[in-house]
């Protein structure tokens, strides 16, 4: 950009004179660019390390679970169209006994070849070595770290009710378990309480009573798109039908892959929306500042034009302010982005077992970041540039017309108006006579407030959900999971355990529900009528009544299937008899569970071809925390594959909230507040530059600096009060929109906006406004008002 040297010098001085204002704007832009560069950077880092990981360790595109698949049948599976490779393996639920842990921990055992060779869903050995003998295992790295296990240690593992003493030979990570959710519920990994064990194939086959056979086929597809897999898997299921197919899972529904993909998608959305908001606010505020600058410099502009500078040269000069703010914001944003990328990756490393996530170099992202920052900032100068270009030299040399004495809207109510102190009259006239500037102020406050309200409501929503799931609905102290459904005589057995106060049976059955063309796999929870330990609630907090017959569906599921109460569905359970049966929809309830359904336990038992049976027992103990004797007794019971204390699940989630949620909320609140701060500060400085003379007048009349600031702050107070009020409404709206957008199959986020949170949001906003006003106050105190009064306007 060619610019005259004299103009360049003027630019430098003007910028320096407005450094506070421009820095505040650059800060907002920097936050936008920081989020853009940082989050998209994280997104790419994670995506590429995931893709590399999946490719290098041959993450399977699908899994088929069956009862017993002979090794010879695996070959035939590989010949199904679109299947590129298929391998058999054994998977089994186990209990792990760790010294120092009261309850046995649930785990999953998976087979690996005795001699190391590349397999699908391969593992990455982090420490130790491959198997050297039979009774050995490799444990997943996070579990080992969380429980201080290392190669050479021994652990007791219950495989099909037989206790084995296994030597840990190594620790490993697997692409299958990047995000490993515990089976007991909750939405955060709990490496301390849930582990994956890799055992030599033959040993596990023998222990699982599957000599020479497998119970899982994992495979690769030529085309692993959702549609292609959806088409191929039924064929594969049909091919393996005679081996007792339980279910098939494409990679998109594999829990870890699903969660990771979802997280990446959310990151990307955030990284695209937030920066636009920040940069747009910066551009709007810059427009206000530039319009004022040009007004202030009308005579300078006129003189320049009279001296022969073209309108284009003058325009370029004012555009250059935007370029400078944009470059400054962009480069600070890039630095901020690098920090953000590091901090976010650090956090992700705690939750995602993804090897080799590190901050990459994304030169194109940096250039984009700089580019959008400059682009928005230049757009922010357009109003001023246009004014400058239009100014005819002769007009420009004349002083600006005096402020017009137009009446403003509130003056139409003379009775009210007459009662207002003059300071409010000044403020209201300033607001109504500068509609653009005022709108920008309100908008900025609205945006900051709604972001803060949204963030706070999200935290409350998550806390509420946790409470709902683990306190309001579930009341048991212990949950015992059984491998297979057993008759309810099992219940009396458990009820008789030492310390047990009461126990109730549950039957959890994964089912495929079909209605017309719609089909969905869901978990149906069979509950005893009058259950006290587990009381499902709908969204209004009312207990869900369990009918004698028929299914109770969550609203989301009913929508997905397109059914209403009274319709009859086709249901195929994945356990038990696994035959298609018809089941009526008894009721549809509005709950927070995603695709969940309830049924009476006896009714559900009959659907799977059993007498009243249970595969989950919930119990309350006298001590609230189950005693060692109670747990020890449980350990000895055959068929137990999981023992979970409710308090443990709750603690773990609490821990996570305390660790990362607070930091995240803090960062977001500061980001949101910066918008308010930057906007208020700039509006105040612009107003001050217009009204310096009024400051002088008021000081002469005996107003103290604090009183003058008070008068000037009223404009900001009124605009921000309106902005905050609108922002609260917008924030609640935003929370609802996001909640329904994330109304996933897993859960529906509750929207909780407590009045205290609104007060908090308003107070935070007040804090940011006060901070900006404090700077204004310093300016007013140090303003040389006596000199201001000496010159003619």
């Amino acid at each position: 950009m060619a610019m005259h040297r004299a103009l360049a010098r003027k630019l430098a001085r003007d910028l320096w004179a407005r450094k506070g204002s421009l820095l505040a704007l650059a800060l907002i832009a920097a936050l936008g660019v920081g989020v853009f560069v940082g989050m998209l950077g994280v997104n790419r880092d994670m995506r590429s390390s995931r893709d590399r990981y999946y490719a290098e360790y041959r993450m399977a595109d699908f899994t088929v679970d069956a009862k017993r698949i002979p090794a010879s049948a695996i070959e035939s599976a590989a010949r199904v169209p679109n299947v590129r490779a298929a391998e058999g393996r054994v998977q089994m639920g186990v209990l792990i006994d760790l010294p120092g842990r009261r309850e046995p921990l649930p785990g999953t055992a998976l087979s690996q070849p005795e001699e190391r060779r590349p397999v699908l869903n391969d593992i990455f050995l982090r420490s130790g070595a491959w198997f050297g003998g039979r009774d050995e295992c490799i444990v997943n790295h996070a579990f080992a770290e969380a429980n201080r296990l290392k190669p050479g240690d021994r652990i007791k593992v219950l495989l099909l009710d037989k206790q084995h003493d296994l030597l840990i030979v190594g620790t490993a990570m697997s692409p299958e378990f990047v995000y490993l959710l515990p089976p007991a519920g909750g939405f955060v990994p709990d490496p301390q309480s849930y582990g994956v064990l890799y055992l030599p194939e033959r040993f596990l086959q023998e222990s699982a009573d599957l000599q020479g056979a497998y119970n899982q086929v994992v495979g690769l597809a030529h085309d692993n798109s959702k549609e292609a897999l959806r088409a191929a898997l039924p064929l594969l299921e049909a091919r393996l039908e005679s081996y007792g197919v339980v279910q098939s899972t494409p990679i998109h529904e594999q829990p870890s892959a699903w969660f990771l993909a979802d997280e990446l998608k959310q990151q990307e959305t955030t990284a695209r929306i937030l920066p636009v908001i920040f940069l747009a606010v910066a551009a709007l505020v810059l427009n206000v500042v530039m319009a004022r600058l040009v007004t202030q410099q009308r005579t300078v502009v006129g003189t320049l034009k009279a001296l022969g500078y073209s309108s284009a040269a003058v325009s370029r000069h004012f555009l250059a302010y935007g370029v400078v703010v944009g470059l400054l914001g962009g480069s600070c944003g890039i630095a901020l982005g690098a920090w953000l990328e590091g901090a976010m990756l650090e956090m992700y490393r705690d939750y995602f077992e993804l090897p080799g996530i590190r901050a990459g170099r994304h030169l194109d992202l940096l250039l984009w970041g700089l580019g959008i920052s400059v682009g928005f900032a230049v757009a922010g100068t357009l109003k001023g540039v246009r004014n400058a270009a239009r100014l005819a030299p002769a007009d420009a040399m004349r002083p600006p017309p005096p402020e017009k004495g137009r009446r403003v809207l509130p003056e139409r109510f003379p009775r009210l108006w007459a009662r207002l102190p003059f300071a409010w009259k000044m403020a209201l006239r300033a607001i109504f006579r500068n509609p653009f500037r005022s709108s920008v102020g309100v908008l900025a406050a609205l945006i900051s407030t709604s972001l803060i309200v949204y963030v706070l409501s999200m935290v409350d929503g998550m806390k509420f959900m946790t409470r709902h799931e683990f306190v309001d609905v579930a009341h048991q102290d212990v949950t015992v999971t059984l491998r297979d459904p057993r008759g309810t005589e099992a219940l009396s057995e458990f009820a008789a355990l030492p310390g047990a106060r009461e126990a109730e049976p549950q039957l959890h059955v994964a089912c495929d529900l079909t209605y017309g063309a719609a089909r969905r796999r869901v978990g149906v929870q069979g509950l005893a009528k009058g259950s006290l330990l587990y009381t499902p609630l709908d969204r209004s907090g009312q207990p869900v009544a369990i009918p004698d017959a028929g299914l109770v569906l969550g609203q989301r599921l009913a929508e997905v299937l397109g059914v209403k109460a009274g319709d009859v569905l086709e249901l195929r359970p994945l356990i038990g008899r696994r035959e298609r049966v018809r089941a009526a929809v008894a009721e549809i309830v509005d709950t927070y569970i995603g695709l969940g359904a309830y049924a009476e336990i006896g009714y559900l038992s009959r659907l799977i071809g059993e007498e009243r049976s249970a595969n989950v027992l919930v119990a309350r103990t006298y001590t609230r925390e189950p005693s060692a004797a109670f747990i020890d007794e449980l350990r000895e019971r055959p068929g137990v594959v999981g023992v979970t204390r409710r308090s443990r699940s709750l603690e773990r989630i609490q821990e996570t909230f305390d660790q990362s949620l607070g930091v995240m909320v803090g960062i977001l609140v500061v980001f949101a507040g910066s918008i308010a701060f930057g906007s208020v500060l700039n509006a105040a400085l612009v107003a001050l530059s217009e009204r310096q003379r009024d400051v002088g007048t008021l000081r002469v009349l005996g107003y103290a600096p604090r009183q003058v600031t008070g008068i000037f702050a009223k404009e900001s107070l009124a605009l921000n009060a309106l902005g905050v009020a609108l922002g609260i409404v917008a924030g609640i709206g935003l929370a609802h929109v996001v909640s329904s957008a994330y109304n996933t199959d897993l859960y529906r986020l509750a929207v909780i906006v407590g009045p205290m949170r609104l007060v908090t949001a308003a107070l935070l906003m007040a804090g940011f406004v006060v901070l900006a006003q404090a700077i204004l106050h310093l300016e007013i105190r140090h303003l040389n008002w006596l000199d201001v009064l000496k010159v003619k306007e």
Partner: protein, 240 residues
């Protein structure tokens, strides 16, 4: 009125100097000024432009402090007063009238007067103050809708409204044509006569000095003359 009758001093400047530091150079605006302003006096200070009149008036009005010397108002030395005390002093005791009016453009005439009233204990009624300057029917007009003379009268009403003892006027006719200027001077004289206000007017215009019973001349930061004018001319008769 007799000159021999000693008035009690309302405010007294003693050996005041004022030096402005302008980077490297220092400008001495006042080089040792002594001035006693009696209670109820009407005083005009004349001097060429740059002679230090405004600087002296600012000292009297508590807008600034002397570099050396003292400014004693009713026994209190303003030179030693804190910013806060000076603020209170201006609020309670002083009414200012400036060459360029310094009205707040976004407030009407009446509201401009209210500004002065809001921070003092026993003010005049703002409308009454406007009535005194003959502008009651213009109360709802904004400064941009008033002529220069009218704006200056609003400024005078504002200065009066806080009910100050001392009215300080810095070139009050400087921005007005002579007819309007005479009206404004007449108004000031009236207020002095009717309300017994102490009025100090500064001007570079010697003709204006003719209206004052006492004229102080300031040249180059020093008082060069301080004389009584036994027969002050009515403001309406002066020519400038």
């Amino acid at each position: 009125m007799s000159d021999e009758e000693p008035r009690s001093a309302l405010i007294e400047v003693r050996s005041a100097t004022k030096v402005f530091a302008m980077g490297e150079v220092e400008v001495a605006a006042l080089r040792g000024v002594d001035l006693r302003v009696g209670d109820g006096e009407f005083l005009v200070i004349v001097g060429p432009s740059g002679s230090g009149k405004s600087t002296l008036l600012n000292l009297l009005g508590g807008l600034d402090r002397p570099t050396q010397g003292s400014v004693v108002f009713q026994g209190h030395d303003l030179a030693k007063a804190s910013d806060r005390e000076l603020t209170l002093y201006r609020r309670r005791e002083i009414g200012f009238v400036f060459q360029f009016f310094n009205l707040i453009p976004s407030l009407t005439a009446l509201e401009n007067v209210q500004v002065a009233v809001e921070v003092v204990a026993d003010p005049l009624d703002p409308l009454e103050a406007l009535t005194m300057v003959g502008l009651a029917e213009r109360a709802g007009h904004f400064p941009s809708q008033l002529s220069g003379g009218e704006q200056q009268r609003v400024a005078i009403a504002r200065a009066l409204a806080s009910n100050p003892r001392l009215l300080l006027c810095d070139e009050p006719t400087g921005a007005l044509d002579s007819a309007t200027g005479r009206q404004v001077l007449g108004l000031l004289w009236d207020l002095h006569a009717r309300l017994k206000k102490t009025v100090v007017v500064i001007t570079h215009n010697r003709a204006i000095a003719a209206i004052a019973p006492r004229v102080v001349e300031l040249v180059d930061g020093r008082v060069t003359a301080d004389r009584a004018n036994a027969s002050p001319a009515p403001p309406s008769e002066i020519v400038y």
